[in-house]
């Protein structure tokens, strides 16, 4: 099966059945304060915690290069009789070279044909072994993955098929036509998705003529003209071994892993790593409104952020966590949702990429309150930049980070994801540890300085999507301050 992201799942079908269950998950976020106003927390269990940082799964990350130059990262995990293999290529839309959507189309076509097998035969091959093939393409990276049982009679044929699919795809014409049509249908669906419309406009405003300006799946004008020859050429350079990171986790010995990496690497085209795109230039701040008939208005605010190797990443990540990075109790969530009931959720994030990725704030609110809400969010950002986090906020965020660390490596799926990112962005193998240490050492001043170095309240690029309706003033906030939890131990 394929989990290609562009065409298939945009359709009703994929979304519908999830609805019944997912309609109502989530997010009763905390509210401030309230009633008796007293620090009611009398939790016995909290008082009994010993205050040490929790233990976590120790990862022995092994790394080497294949003969063809692919970087390999491997973690042995024998508890379950399965393994995960993830190939990450610097083959996202930032490598499209003016043919928008070429990268996504190439990635989506990988499993459409190999010598002697058409798309259905390939799918039957994986599915008959119980193996999951996955693929996806983004701004910087393209991914191809395999999850399989580790028993040799399943593993070997699954790997052989996987190596053919990623290394020697034939890009058959009939499939190309069909996938293009599906992508075109996907663009039609995008027109009913105000979040997508807004996100596309935001990227365009933020990045101008830089490759990050364009949606990674191209558009209705760019896709139809892409040829088989262009796919072949893109595959030959962007899916080359030297442009690939191989992450492996699971029930494999070191020698198994070496053999798998060698097999996959040898199947890929030969060639070096592709250069990263140029850094983007500063955008012009301002507001763009897209008129759209909906009940809510989507508000999207952005600035240029950082690349993945920026030394300020730990400080910015911490600063963002406090501003709007977590679900509960962030500054944005407290003020916009908990004190005023204006939105279901408001989140901020840095997305560090090969070159400067975006910093964004996203929310939706009822249309008649959208102007007031936008102003509120801008004021909250300005205030945060001006004053920085409080010592209490920073201490809490550090505890949270230390406490959540064990969750980040609890499953094979999460480990393979971490390895892929470490490999792709050329981070040291000790990166998880380093990040934790840097984060725990941060001071209020350092966080504030880093946020102000990279963000400014008057540099926001803003896109709003919604109906034009007469505006109302915001309801007054509840003024009772939040109870800070007492007795959370230090660690």
């Amino acid at each position: 099966m394929s989990d290609r992201r562009a065409p298939r799942q945009t359709f009703v079908g994929a979304g519908l059945f999830a609805l019944a269950l997912s309609a109502c998950t989530l997010l009763s976020a905390p509210a401030h304060a309230a009633d008796a106003g007293k620090p009611a927390n009398t939790l016995q269990s909290l008082a009994e915690l010993d205050g040490k940082a929790p233990s976590r799964r120790q990862l022995n990350v092994q790394s080497w290069k294949t003969a063809e130059g692919a970087r390999v990262l491997f973690v042995e995990a024998h508890e379950l009789p399965m393994f995960d293999l993830r190939l990450t290529f610097a083959a996202g839309s930032s490598q499209d070279g003016g043919t928008q959507g070429l990268s996504t189309l190439t990635n989506a076509m990988l499993n459409e044909g190999v010598a002697g097998k058409d798309v259905t035969a390939i799918a039957q091959g994986f599915e008959g072994l119980g193996a999951d093939f996955g693929n996806g393409s983004y701004r910087d990276m393209a991914v191809a993955s395999l999850r399989s049982l580790s028993a040799a009679d399943k593993r070997q044929p699954a790997l052989k098929l996987f190596a053919d699919v990623v290394g020697k795809p034939t890009f058959p014409e009939d499939s190309l036509k069909r996938i293009k049509n599906q992508m075109l249908a996907g663009f039609e669906y995008d027109k009913q998705n105000p979040a997508k419309l807004g996100a596309n406009a935001l990227s365009a405003k933020l990045y101008g003529s830089h490759p990050y300006a364009f949606p990674s799946d191209g558009n209705a004008k760019s896709i139809p003209g892409i040829t088989q020859a262009q796919l072949r050429a893109f595959h030959a350079k962007a899916y080359a071994a030297g442009n690939t990171v191989i992450a492996l986790v699971g029930d494999l010995s070191r020698s198994d892993a070496e053999a798998i990496a060698a097999q996959v690497s040898a199947a890929l085209p030969k060639g070096p790593a592709l250069p990263a795109p140029a850094q983007p230039s500063e955008p012009k701040p301002g507001i763009t409104h897209i008129d759209y008939a909906s009940k809510q208005t989507h508000l999207m605010l952005a600035e240029l952020g950082i690349d993945r190797n920026d030394p300020d990443w730990a400080a910015l990540s911490m600063g963002n966590q406090i501003l709007g990075g977590g679900a509960f109790g962030t500054r944005l969530m407290s003020e916009v949702r908990e004190k005023r009931g204006l939105t279901y959720g408001v989140y901020s994030s840095f997305t560090p990429m090969q070159v400067r990725g975006p910093f964004t704030i996203n929310l939706q609110t009822r249309a008649e309150l959208s102007e007031g809400t936008l102003k509120l969010v801008q004021d909250l950002l300005a205030d945060y930049l001006k004053t920085g986090p409080t010592q209490q906020e920073l201490d809490d965020a550090k505890r949270e980070l230390a406490g959540s660390f064990p969750l980040s490596t609890a499953s094979n799926a999460s480990i393979v994801g971490q390895l892929g990112a470490i490999g792709f962005y050329n981070l040291p193998l000790t990166w998880l540890e380093d990040f934790m240490q840097q984060s725990q050492a941060l001071t209020v001043e350092q966080v504030k300085a880093a946020m102000n170095k990279h963000l400014a309240a008057d540099k926001l690029v803003i896109v709003t999507v919604g109906p034009k309706v007469p505006q109302k003033p915001l309801p007054p906030p509840t003024e009772k301050p939040a109870d800070q939890p007492l007795g959370v131990p230090e660690h």
Partner: protein, 451 residues
């Protein structure tokens, strides 16, 4: 990235994926016990990492609600974060956040569940907070006044401004004429507008009792440890009788129903739903497992019939999928949805014809051995893959228990599916894929309204 891959393996199993151990790995020790107050506890040991998930499942959801009071279960879920005897509004979330825990809740038609994922040494905090709000929820009116506005935003975001979600809500209301599955979990907007905090108080008092809940713990724990903690924190909460809960039963053959909707969509699509039993209501469980296999044959992967024949072979649809949740408290629906391939000038009528050809073939011709073998291979592997996630294991256990089945079904899963014969599949198709059981929705772009 995972969503569609999971879908392929998972659909076969309805919305959940049952981890079975028998194949290639040793069974993970799983234990169950019940406290004196009726709280059932299921513990599954998974010692791969020093983390644990704790989930509490209440047997209440939107299918328990009555007209005029829709959305109560979900609104109560939101208010469960607004303070109890030992913590103020939002404080529990902040405590858990500072401990690095992931926490959340979800409401469905059959259940309301709350969970925490955290480092193993913090489990007592999760228990104490969960027990406190089971016993002593505050429900402050001023918090409710703000939270109901958040819930309305949630409805606008997830339903009202999402044409396909809105269509599916209306479709469900038509396809379940008799049972509480008619009701959207988030509630109709008119009911949210008039909801009172007193109603939530009654709902809470009626259903949030230890004897109406199941606590599921999966992770780096021992049963003795969990037993001690469960007794310590939940043991003193008194048992209380709950109202009688009737299974959501449907009319077997309500007759064909048709809905035509014009929504803000660019492309037409259709939804089919056949009224069928679930595992909890079926006279013959074999027929339910046959329907599960049918769903896998149609859509259990990229080589299945809908993608290989309708999407690729005939190029009739741009996309199509099937779904069948057998693990419901009451009767269920067998669902198919599809979007015509408009580039090939296919219409909804063409798609309906193509779908009926597939359904009729299931009645007339048994599936090939190779097809069934592929399905089985995916089940076997899926049972192993699901064990990579402690949350997915806990969810499977919790859902089975909450809809009135047993988590021990997990161990019988493969056998049950193996017993289904090609003839069972044909019989199920003949019984259930009839016009009398069918609801159809045509979801059309708005401009068609003026044609």
């Amino acid at each position: 990235m995972k969503a569609l891959a999971r879908r392929a393996a998972g659909l076969l199993l309805g919305t959940l994926c049952l981890p079975l151990a028998a194949m290639a790995a040793d069974t993970q020790p799983t234990h169950e016990f019940t406290l004196d107050n009726g709280l059932k506890v299921v513990v599954r040991e998974d010692h791969r990492a020093p983390v644990v998930v704790s989930q509490i499942w209440y047997k209440v959801g939107s299918s328990y609600e009555t007209p005029g009071q829709t959305g109560l279960s979900h609104a109560l879920e939101h208010m469960m974060f607004k303070g109890s005897a030992k913590v103020g509004p939002g404080e529990g979330s902040r405590i858990l956040r500072d401990l690095g825990a992931e926490e959340n809740a979800f409401t469905s038609d059959d259940y309301t569940a709350y969970y925490q994922v955290l480092a193993r040494d913090r489990l007592p905090v999760a228990f104490e907070l969960e027990a406190d709000r089971m016993a002593s929820l505050r429900l402050p009116p001023e918090e409710f006044a703000r939270e109901i506005e958040v819930i309305k935003e949630e409805r606008r975001l997830r339903t009202d401004d999402k044409p396909n979600a809105k269509a599916f809500e209306l479709f469900s209301a038509m396809a379940y004429p008799a049972s509480g599955y008619h009701t959207p979990t988030i509630g109709w907007m008119a009911d949210l507008e008039r909801m009172k905090v007193e109603e939530l108080r009654h709902w809470y008092e009626a259903w949030y009792t230890p004897n109406n809940a199941t606590l599921v713990v999966v992770g780096d724990v021992t049963v003795d440890e969990v037993k001690g903690l469960a007794q310590k924190y939940f043991g003193a909460i008194p048992k209380r009788a709950t109202p009688p809960a009737k299974l959501p039963l449907e009319l077997a053959e309500p007759g064909q129903r048709q809905l035509t909707l014009h929504v803000a969509t660019q492309l037409p699509s259709l939804i089919y739903g056949f009224n069928v039993p679930g595992l909890a209501t079926a006279q013959n469980p074999r027929s339910v497992h046959a329907l599960r296999l049918i769903s896998a044959l149609l859509d259990g992967g990229y080589s299945a019939r809908l993608p290989s024949r309708l999407e690729r072979g005939q190029e009739l649809v741009a996309g199509a999928s099937s779904g069948y949740d057998a693990f419901t408290r009451g009767d269920s629906l067998f669902l198919i949805s599809a979007t015509p391939n408009v580039q090939q000038h296919k219409t909804l009528a063409d798609v309906e014809k193509g779908l009926w050809e597939q359904l009729d073939e299931l009645k007339s011709t048994p599936p090939s051995a190779a097809e069934l073998e592929r399905v089985r291979a995916q089940v076997i592997a899926g049972l192993v893959y699901d064990r990579d996630s402690i949350s997915s294991q806990a969810t499977t256990i919790g859902q089975l228990e909450t809809v009135g089945l047993s988590w021990k079904l997990i161990d019988r899963e493969l056998d049950e599916l193996k017993q289904v014969t090609p003839k069972d599949i044909q019989d199920a198709a003949r019984t259930y894929f009839t016009r009398e059981r069918l609801s159809v929705a045509h979801v059309l772009p708005e401009e068609s309204a003026h044609e």
